[in-house]
Amino acid sequence: MGCGKTALVAALCRALRDELSVAVVTNDIYTTEDADFLRREAVLPTERIVAVRTGCCPHTAIRDDITANLDAVEDLVDQFDPDVVLVESGGDNLTATFSYGLVDRQIFVVDTAGGDDVPRKGGPGVAGADLLVINKVDLGPLVGADTERMAADAERVRDGKPTALTSVRTQPITEVVDWVRAQVPVAA
């Protein structure tokens, strides 16, 4: 929650939209605010950004009952045949992960300011995601978070899977963009 998921999605759209056909599904908890933000920022044409409602359970909507998200993704695929659909979860907690019935790859974003012990604690999101993004590392010195230690802890629990340290709002996210590009067959 507040770790920079929507900002990351916006940055990915800006970086990829010229070379790939991109669409987005957002899972806001009780508004269409994330979708509205992405539309306002004009990162993609409005019709390529869809918001689903999750009935107070963003967790359920991406893992246990993926129906609403499948509907949204299928509609986007029918309309635009995109190379990549980014599904942004509603802000949830460290145990929130996507079903692989819905996604091919998942990125888990944690906030440096949320505590530098988060990677050490692990959990399904931190340990299992295909890419872990530790965001807002520029805030590390301000909140007393040791980002090097976070990266080392992540490496220990992630069994060789990659981790990227980012400051989405102030720095380019080249590492994340390259990773996403490498996951899309058409761009390889």
């Binding site: 908890i29 009780y30 508004t31 269409t32 689903v52 409602r53 999750t54 009935g55 107070c56 359970c57 359920t60 909507a61 246990d64 009952d65 993926i66 129906t67 609403a68 499948l70 509907d71």
Partner: protein, 274 residues
């Protein structure tokens, strides 16, 4: 029987968790705030919206049970084997719970095995639309129908879904799924009411922070109090199917939930899709 348990389970992934059975709009206007209010809301909705969805569920179950095997099942296996035929007409035995053996069904006008035909689902679909006055609720019904269709395809590949289209009303899909799960038309009607009540009760827990045990009680009492609605829906649906005439489906509603559904669909900041 086990298939019916699956259909009755709110954890079956068919998207139901994102719908509140209309109660979110009532909660947001302060019309519902306690378990008794939820029971009152159900007292208005079950005999109207519940009846109107339960009856075509029962009809679809009866029609699906009498339908020929899906074309793909036949073409994949050549001539239908006895085993396939047995599986394709499950509710001919499944209705015994209601004391209606297949002979009795035939007596109510159902075709015998020799004269099977595919149901003309479009007519039944149109009849449900005609009984769902506002476009917002027709859309909700079709969204949930599409979702349930996806689940049914995975769970019961031989279900009689051919001709239902991509976005049928949920009541039809539920009826077809019930038949595929060896359930009776009465089971289909009961499931339709159970799902309506379940959506309302679980949404009330999440929206109002009510005691989930109290709402489990509301759920159980609602099913008990509205047994007559389930019975009427099952009878009306079975009769309509026997006559092959969707005009015999019941219709009933009240204005407030219909208006609230329209306002909900247009509202900002709603938690539930309906």
């Amino acid at each position: 029987m086990s298939g019916l348990w699956l259909l009755a389970d709110s954890r079956l992934p068919t998207g139901g968790h994102a719908h509140s059975g209309g109660i979110e709009a009532a909660v947001r206007r302060g019309l519902v705030s306690a378990p008794d209010d939820v029971a009152g809301w159900l007292g208005g909705r079950v005999p109207t919206a519940g009846l109107v969805t339960a009856a075509p569920s029962a009809a679809a179950c009866a029609l699906a049970a009498a339908a020929p095997a899906p074309a793909r099942a036949l073409s994949a296996r050549g001539e239908p084997s006895d085993a396939l035929v047995d599986r394709t007409f499950p509710s001919r035995t499944g209705v015994s719970e209601r004391g209606e053996e297949s002979a009795a069904l035939a007596g109510r006008g159902f075709p015998s095995c020799g004269e099977l035909r595919s149901p003309d689902w479009a007519r039944w679909d149109a009849a449900i639309s005609a009984r769902t006055p506002v476009a917002a609720l027709r859309e909700v019904s079709r969204t949930q129908g599409r979702a349930m269709l996806r689940t049914v395809r995975s769970a019961w590949p031989d279900a009689a879904i051919d001709g239902l289209g991509a976005r049928p009303h949920q009541a039809l899909v539920l009826g077809v799924a019930t038949a595929a799960a060896n359930g009776s038309p009465h089971d289909a009607a009961a499931l339709a009411v159970h799902h309506l009540v379940g959506q309302v009760c679980s949404a009330a827990v999440r929206l109002l922070g009510l005691d989930p045990l109290a709402l489990a009680g509301v759920h159980a009492r609602a099913l008990d109090e509205h047994r007559d609605v389930i019975d009427r829906a099952a009878d009306a649906g079975t009769d309509a199917a026997a006559l092959d005439d969707p005009d015999h489906l019941p219709s009933a509603t009240t204005p407030l939930p219909e208006v609230l559904a329209v306002l909900h669909a247009r509202s900002e900041g709603a938690l539930f899709a309906s």
